[in-house]
Amino acid sequence: MIQTGVARGTLADAERGTLYRVRRRVTFFARHYPLGFAGGVLLMMMITVAILAPLIAPYDPLGQDIPNKLAAPSSQFWFGADNFGRDVLSRVLYGARISLYVGFASVGLATVVGMLIGVASGYLGGVVDLVIQRVVDMLLGFPGLILAMVMVVAIGASLNNVVFAIAVVFAPRVVRLARSSALSIKEEPYVLAALSIGASHIRIMLRHILPNALAPVFVLATGYLGTAIVVEASLSYLGLGVPPPHASCGNMIFAGSRGTLEAAPWLSVFPGLALAFVVFSFSFLGDALRDAFDPRLRGT
């Protein structure tokens, strides 16, 4: 579409409809952050593949085929087969499902809970703030992985417990960020203006503070998606994550490293590559989003 400089104003955009605006933003993002855009595209592909895993996977990920155990990668088993003759490609596809589910669910839970607590803490201040912040200090005192391990050991290893444990690791960081945003936003004149026409504190928090504190938290959360997947893989590797026989990148790498690493490296290598792929995509996207949202870095 040919445009003159004048026609590029925001008003003209508003009249062109949502689809046009979305398309222009995506084009802008792709042009200025090619790496992040590539990460986004890869992620989309992986999410699609993970969702469609039952349709794409050539074999049942749990189906054992003993005669073909430890089969090398071939046209029949693209990524080889493991010590029970299960197809590694199918297991990786199903493993990606679990990884992405854990990533999104745990970060989503941490973000929602962390935002609410953080905004309340910053807005209400006083004793509420003091108590919440000391609890946050305590949780931040543990290294993330150790905390997640302790949580899983305490509540037992299952898919949703892993999600919960990882959320507990990330929530305090979200709380801190949301609180600091809330502290500055609550001084904005529109908060006073809203109070002056009779808005309640709950309304102020949910309607005025929370949406304005969203952008930095959103960026942080994108960055944490990759980390959450690594934490899940680490937990699974240590036997504290998704319980076998279900596939997850972590427990597949562990299974492959138990005595068969030299004879059948593909058992660990392919899930490892898949994991690296996902995490890199998330980091690239996260970095690009952070730069795009941070006005100080914009244009550099």
Binding site: E188, P189, Y190, L195, S196, R203, H208, P211
Partner: protein, 333 residues
């Protein structure tokens, strides 16, 4: 005319690291139905704190309302529960703030922000609220309300945002509209439009308007009565014409002579009010204005002058208010 809002001996203090700041120290005034009241004074004089105390939006701590009564139609607002107070805000007393650029939430559309109090406070349906928002935008002279309602604050200029703020403050039809420096951030042509608009709307609705400002021109043009504040106290009160024509407090006199006049030769230097506004933590003894006052006498150091009537309905807090009027006239002659 009946009194809508009556403020009696209001004292609002702030506990700061430097000490106790008596931002509002015994202020009393009334707002009558249909009038435009001016509240004038320099920065830090307690004008805004007086207004915010009235709707109990003083940040606590460090601020606290120590004593006084704020009577709205005979009901003391300072004794209401927090929830009861919430319903007074917007409905009884509406407020417009100084910074139109930041008084709107940047992430919500204008329509959303305008209809929200209508839905939650007045219980209108979404459809009715939208229609009312439409009317409100039209009444503050914003063209094409349909399109404007869907837009966001960054699509609006400063003057238009202030119009939206006025629409919002009027949405729940308050009896008293308090405008705290409503035009300070706007350029001069827009200032006049906004003030005319506020005055017209006040007349049409039959409510009262309180304009808080440091701009003497604004008060002269729009206010019926004026309260001059200095260091947390009202130092002079009268009709706008009397305050301008016959100021009875040295501070008001100083303010008047510091404004350039079109009817005097331009070669003359403007007379300034010497010195700095007082440190509210450590007020001078006696009258707070005494260190800067060209007429200061022995008694000004010893006692604080009360607000007293000099001539008809003209009050001043100065020991020599009676002589000042005559002196000013002699000076002009």
């Amino acid at each position: 005319m009946s009194v809508v809002l009556e403020i009696e001996d209001l004292r609002t203090y702030f506990d700061t690291e430097g000490g106790l700041v008596k931002a509002v120290d015994g202020v009393s005034y009334t707002v009558e139905e249909g009038e435009t009241l001016g509240l004038v004074g320099e920065s830090g004089g307690g004008k805004s704190v007086t207004a915010l105390s009235g709707i109990r939006l003083i940040p606590t701590p460090p601020g606290r309302i120590v004593s006084g009564r704020v009577l709205y139609k005979g009901q003391d607002l300072l004794e209401l529960s927090l929830d009861g107070m919430r319903h007074i805000r917007g409905r009884a007393i509406g407020m417009i703030f100084q910074e139109p650029m930041t008084s709107l939430n940047p992430v919500l559309s204008i329509g959303r922000q305008l209809t929200e109090p209508l839905i939650t406070e007045l219980g209108l349906s979404k459809y009715d609220a939208n229609a009312r928002a439409h009317e409100l935008l039209a009444s503050v002279e914003i063209s094409d309300p349909e399109r404007r309602l869907a837009q966001f604050p960054h699509h609006f200029s400063g003057g238009m945002r202030q119009r939206v703020m006025i629409a919002m403050a009027l949405s729940c039809n308050p009896a008293v509209l308090i405008a705290d420096e409503p035009t300070t951030a706007l350029d001069v042509t827009v200032q006049a439009q906004i003030l005319e608009l506020m005055q017209r709307l006040t007349e049409e609705r039959g409510g009262a308007l309180v304009i808080i400002t440091h701009n003497l021109g604004v008060v002269a043009r729009y206010a019926d009565r004026v309260n001059v504040m200095y260091a947390g106290k009202i130092v002079e009160r009268s009709s706008a014409t009397a305050v301008y024509g016959d100021p009875r407090h040295p501070y008001t006199l100083g303010l008047m002579s510091s404004v350039p006049r079109l009817d005097l030769p331009v070669t003359e230097r403007l007379v300034q009010v010497d010195g700095q506004p007082p440190n509210l933590v450590d007020l001078p003894p006696g009258c707070a204005f005494q260190p800067r006052c060209p007429y200061a006498q022995e008694q000004c150091l010893e006692a604080v002058p009360e607000l007293m009537q000099t001539v008809d309905n003209h009050y001043a807090a100065c020991f020599i208010a009676d002589q000042l009027g005559a002196g000013a006239k002699a000076g002009q002659a």
